[in-house]
């Protein structure tokens, strides 16, 4: 692929529209008219709409996964024999995402929303594509999480990782809307970087909570304060 002007314009338009409206709610005609290219250009350059969706993800994830891999290398080298802490592991992931060179200032939040949509919208082809392409850095992240929380049983850790994933994917996928609401309610401006910086302590604290299961608060004796 010669990386023509047309290809980039399609990718840019598709990325933005997918993030705004979801995948199946975005038609090729919307994309091509926003990109100011002919309708047939998508099928010519990418082959199908599904392949275009995958290409949008690959354009961000491929450079990101090698950046992340190097960041994990650095982290483990710095720590020597002792495994990295939970906070360090989470922050390396977050920082790697934040530091990625963006096409626009909303670049990261756009892509975070796409990642969130990839989880919630049941695009089977996309799930398989992401699993096949990026299983390595994902598996490494999971290994680091395990070493950073040796006090948790495998079952406890499993569920809490899901809770973390959920909080992250959900928040990031709606980050634009949530920022707008906060701006209207309290007049506060927020960056994606700040959201991430708030998310990490929340996740780390939840991950290290002392009670794995809820102690049901009864009438007389209240649980915790």
């Amino acid at each position: 692929m010669a990386q023509s002007e047309t290809v980039d314009r399609i990718l840019d338009a598709a990325e933005e529209l997918f993030a705004e409206r979801g995948f199946s709610e975005t038609s090729l005609r919307m994309i091509t008219s926003k990109a100011k290219v002919n309708l047939a250009a998508v099928n010519y350059h990418f082959g199908s709409k599904n392949a275009l969706i995958q290409a949008v993800f690959a354009r961000f994830l491929t450079p990101f996964s090698s950046t992340l891999d190097r960041a994990f290398d650095d982290l483990e080298a710095r720590c020597g024999d002792t495994p990295p802490t939970l906070n360090q592991t989470l922050w390396v992931l977050t920082e790697s995402a934040i530091r990625m060179p963006q096409r626009s200032e909303r670049g990261l939040s756009i892509f975070m929303r796409l990642l969130g949509l990839a989880y919630t919208q049941s695009q089977g082809h996309l799930r398989k594509f992401l699993e096949q392409q990026y299983s390595n850095p994902f598996g490494r992240f999971m290994r680091l999480l395990k070493e950073a929380t040796p006090q948790l049983s495998a079952v406890d850790r499993y569920w809490r990782i899901q809770f973390m994933l959920g909080a992250t994917a959900f928040t990031m996928s709606s980050s634009d809307a949530l920022r707008d609401i906060l701006h209207n309610k309290l007049g506060v401006e927020t960056t994606v970087q700040e959201i991430a910086a708030r998310l990490v302590p929340f996740l780390a604290a939840g991950m290290q909570a002392s009670d794995p299961l809820m102690v049901v608060p009864s009438l007389g004796k209240t649980a915790s304060g």
Copy 2:
């Protein structure tokens, strides 16, 4: 509306298909063929596809919101002057959801997934409908959360509530798949109730984390352990 057999069959089929595939990915023809009713029945009984989507939510949320309201009444009566704790507030919400009479054993997880989809899929009409219909119990829950976390600033509390929402909606919406994965990996069976009992301590700990923003772990000095 006479609550005919047909209406219920349509609602059952729609609820399940929407949860499986999302709203716009589910056609009326799928719904009516699964419900074994005529295609025109949806527009006859509900008026439009959007009205059907709203009806699916109303069928669960209307009884749930009054149940929740009574549960909050009980909680505040038990606590007297002192505001309920965070754990208590979270658990009352969780328990009210769990105790709701379900149409099937997967009823709650189906509906949790629908709630998650309502947030992520940009269905403007649904957002407005939910806000108009159920602003009261939602606002009351927010008030209780505020009184239970007086140490948090409004901005901190806002974001952490979003994190809680995300972890909950995401986990519950995928609870079936997540339970299957856990069963295959570790051979452990899990109930929705147990997931909820694990979720509450995680959320409470995250909500009460000491650092609102991340303290970047530097090379020499690592943040927390």
